[in-house]
Symmetry: C3
Subunit: 171 residues, 3 copies
């Protein structure tokens, strides 16, 4: 039985198996499991992706939607319950589109994550290993996402880099 | 002498030394060596790249072109022969441009890879660690490539992430 | 006390904590510390980034600007002094924009790096793990950066892949 007050951070590229691996880790612990979804269904492509993730999870999961107030959703949860947050980059995107203060939002989140709670599993995207994007908004997002990932990784007890569905332990 | 019935999967970014490292691993085994090329020479840039790879390989290699029927080409090979497939992402691109059913093609390939044959060395690209691409086709390709990489990594005995020419063992 | 004649190569995506980690490693050694900046302040965004890096470094650092003649700047330094080069991809960009011979410049740099000097800390970007860029110039840069990273990693004593601010040892 692992220590329950832990934060596991899973980072990886698109389709690297982050969510699936986080589900395996969470469901290795006793239910009930809480899934915090940050996705907003803007279009059909996103609706499809959300439905796919939801159908894969199956029984035993409670889903909470928190596209913006992730810190509040996490703070409101009972202690010692497996929670999967999927994912931080979408949450950041939502705040960016809403033109919120990203530094402030990231600090609020980091504060909640710093309290010994959990076991929590946080999923995020690595978006900084391609060519510098042409447009300034994409560059700004890339910078903000990288800083957020660093903040969360610094707090986390375990950091896994997902590569082709396999976890590579970074911390 | 390593067990000959093995599958080694090398994944990495562009110019990360995937092909060169796969050649080192393959030629550490006794010849004859078979090189399965999936590239199609659409333009001068690609023709140059193919010629460069071919000249680096040198003597002792038999080259088979399999831009589409990779499963068939692998199935037709004799057992226990070092084979280098370079690369899976180009093969997937060819099927996508031909508007084939990618799920079906990936399943066919996975089936051939699941039989204990080899030593086989498969090269593929990590394409999911940049900013989300603007155009839908690129996103669809990125998703398909990520899923294929997960499938192959799950089957493989050894998975190496190539970083600046150096292998990082993932599995 | 680590052996002082060493080359450490830090590679990672944008905002992966490469520079900050390199500073931690360099300042763990006795001063004076030399910072070789390759950035050129083309625009406000870049000027801001340079100012941010400079303010983080603080006291004890001497800054040398070497947007193009990095090999010369390194060769001119006294032995046994901690040096941080930030970063190789910007240096390569500068040469590309100046339409210099990239192979020649990389060879000149590799030659200086091959002499037993240091402790030197070299920072570079991984830019090859996204979707293939649309424009030919970006593809050419990606190829050149990947080859340079391989050259430097081959020479380096230690290679670290930075992931969300954390070092993953590759060599």
């Amino acid at each position: 039985m692992p220590d329950r007050k832990t934060l596991t951070f899973l980072i990886g590229g698109a389709r690297s198996g982050k969510s699936a691996h986080a589900e395996i880790l969470a469901t290795a612990l006793p239910p009930p499991w809480t899934y915090i979804a940050t996705a907003q269904a803007y279009d059909d492509e996103m609706r499809e992706r959300i439905a796919l993730h939801r159908s894969r999870r199956g029984e035993g999961w409670t889903t909470i939607d928190a596209p913006l107030d992730l810190a509040g959703a996490l703070a409101a949860l009972p202690d010692d319950r497996p929670v999967l947050v999927d994912c931080l980059t979408l949450w950041l995107t939502n705040h960016m589109l809403a033109e919120h203060d990203l530094d402030l939002e990231c600090r609020r989140l980091a504060e909640v994550l710093s309290r010994p709670r959990g076991p929590w599993f946080l999923v995020s995207n690595e978006v900084g290993q391609g060519i510098v994007p042409d447009n300034a908004l994409a560059r700004r997002f890339r910078d903000a996402a990288g800083r957020l990932n660093q903040q969360v990784a610094a707090i986390a007890d375990t950091v896994l880099l997902m590569v082709a569905g396999l976890p590579l332990k970074v911390k």
